[in-house]
Amino acid sequence: MTAARPLLSVQDVKANYGPVEALRGVSLDVFPGEIVALIGANGAGKSTLLMTICGDPRASAGRVVYDGAEITNTPLHEMVRLGIAQSPEGRRIFPRMSVLENLQMGAFAGDPANFGGDLDRVFRLFPRLAERRDQRAGTMSGGEQQMLAIGRALMSRPRLLLLDEPSLGLAPLLVAQIFATIKEINRSEGVTVLLVEQNAYHALRLAHRGYVLVNGSIRMSGAGSDLLANPDVQKAYLAGGHH
């Protein structure tokens, strides 16, 4: 992964919620075609970083550069048109819409001509969604909602996919399936992925590279396998033998 220019470059970004400083100068790069994992304890600022990349909360200092252009102050609703999609923390599916309508919202900014094909692709990745296409999304199980959140993000044909804890609350079998899906999307379609995970073992195994976020700044970074082998990482994030 030595492509000349990163697809996403976060440069010394700070962000806060009122007086709470959530990001204290974060820098990271994601190169085209990579899967990059971002791990860290609760409250480290992982979700904030994904949201700040999209512009809410805005970076109070530093720059966010995407595909060579600065997007630090680009309006939220233009991000998806640039090719950035997020499956956010808490899934944030639209509970009073059907599964199909949620996926239609995912394609909101896209070319309607692609809709049918993209829908088929999401249904192939998550057959469960096809079975439930007319169900109210709010009444689906947690795992199904997670699939929907990822599927919705894919409907916009992103170049950069931001995933916030896609394995949260899922049964082990489903976790493995979600990770396999992420790998598949990355490999066969070349979608670049920035992945936030509590499940550090799985995430680092899947990712090409990883970053460790502590208290609003990057503490460590390196190849996924190196971080996995690192004793500090093992002690802090892999305790309890995640397998």
Binding site: H77, P95, S156
Partner: protein
């Protein structure tokens, strides 16, 4: 009965405006009744200007007046949102409500100043009707105007329901209602969607204003207050946030008023309306067609 339906159609159309705005930004637009009043005034003024040319074709005259009223009230709706509500978005919940009441008072007095306090009359534009039944001296008649009003209302109602439930615009409006930030992340321009919602509500109020003008033949600056209150009641009665609910609530209130006026002292008709609202809310706090919010989030 038919009077009640016609009145109910007017309330229902205004109520849809309340319910749509509430459904999408969670705020009661108390100035909505005034937008309706302005719609009625603009109709009167336009009819008056057209008057000298003669109403060769009433349909044509109504279409022209409707266009003018739609344009003006849409501009009012858009401006009110822009000036009085948008700057307050994100502040505490009561702020836009207070602002709405301020706008309402402002618009009333503004029209009062410009147009005076007197009733403004117009010539009847549509005359005639059918006799439905005749029984021992009682004549049940339905006028062309009533037929037109009820038909137009049904068409608008169906159109808006389709718009909200079946189109991309409608979906983005519902998305804004459910999670504004997520909607933005998916590419929805939230500000513009909210503006559009206000414009759509105002357009319906304009239609209601025009209908009022045609039906009652006179308007004054105060009609927005009571009609607004009744329509708001209709929206709550039907279940605020629900489009069919708003229409149902409007028709019910129209019918209650007509029925009460026919059989009981007319002075108490508003008491009856609000009394029924209280009763319904005690037994169904979400209104008749309101959704009970049970879902995982």
């Amino acid at each position: 009965m038919i009077n009640g339906l016609t009145l109910g159609a007017i309330y229902g159309l205004i109520a849809i405006g309340y319910t749509m705005v509430y459904g999408i930004i969670g705020m009661i637009n108390f100035a909505h009744g005034e937008v309706y009043m302005i719609g009625a005034f603009i109709s009167v003024i336009t009819f008056t200007i057209l008057g000298p040319f003669g109403f060769a074709s009433p349909v044509l005259a109504i279409v022209v007046v409707l266009m003018v009223a739609l344009v003006f009230t849409s501009v009012y709706g858009w401006t009110v949102e822009r000036i009085a509500y948008r700057p307050l978005r994100g502040s505490f919940r009561l702020a836009p409500l207070i602002s709405a009441i301020g706008v309402s008072i402002f618009l009333q007095n503004y029209v009062h100043m410009l147009q005076g306090a007197k009733m403004k009359p117009v010539q009847p534009v549509v005359r005639g009707g059918f006799v439905l039944a005749e029984e021992g001296g009682f004549v049940v008649q339905i006028t062309y105007l009533q037929i037109g009003i009820i038909a137009a209302t049904l068409v608008l109602m169906a159109g808006f329901t389709l718009l909200i439930h079946r189109t991309s615009l409608g979906r983005s409006q519902r998305a804004c209602e459910q999670d504004r930030k997520m909607a933005a992340l998916l590419g929805v321009n939230v500000d513009r969607t909210i503006s559009l919602t206000f414009v759509m509500g105002a357009a319906l109020a304009a239609v209601a204003g025009l209908i009022f003008t045609l039906y009652y033949g006179a308007v004054d600056f105060f009609i927005g207050f009571l009609a607004g209150l009744k329509a708001f009641t209709a929206a709550v009665l039907g279940g605020i946030g629900s489009l069919p609910g708003a229409m149902l609530g409007g028709v019910l209130i129209g019918l209650i008023e007509a029925f009460w006026s026919a059989h009981f002292p007319i002075a108490y008709k508003d008491v009856a309306v609000f009394g029924i609202l209280v009763i319904v809310l005690i037994f169904r706090p979400t209104g008749l067609l309101g959704r009970p919010d049970i879902e995982k989030v």
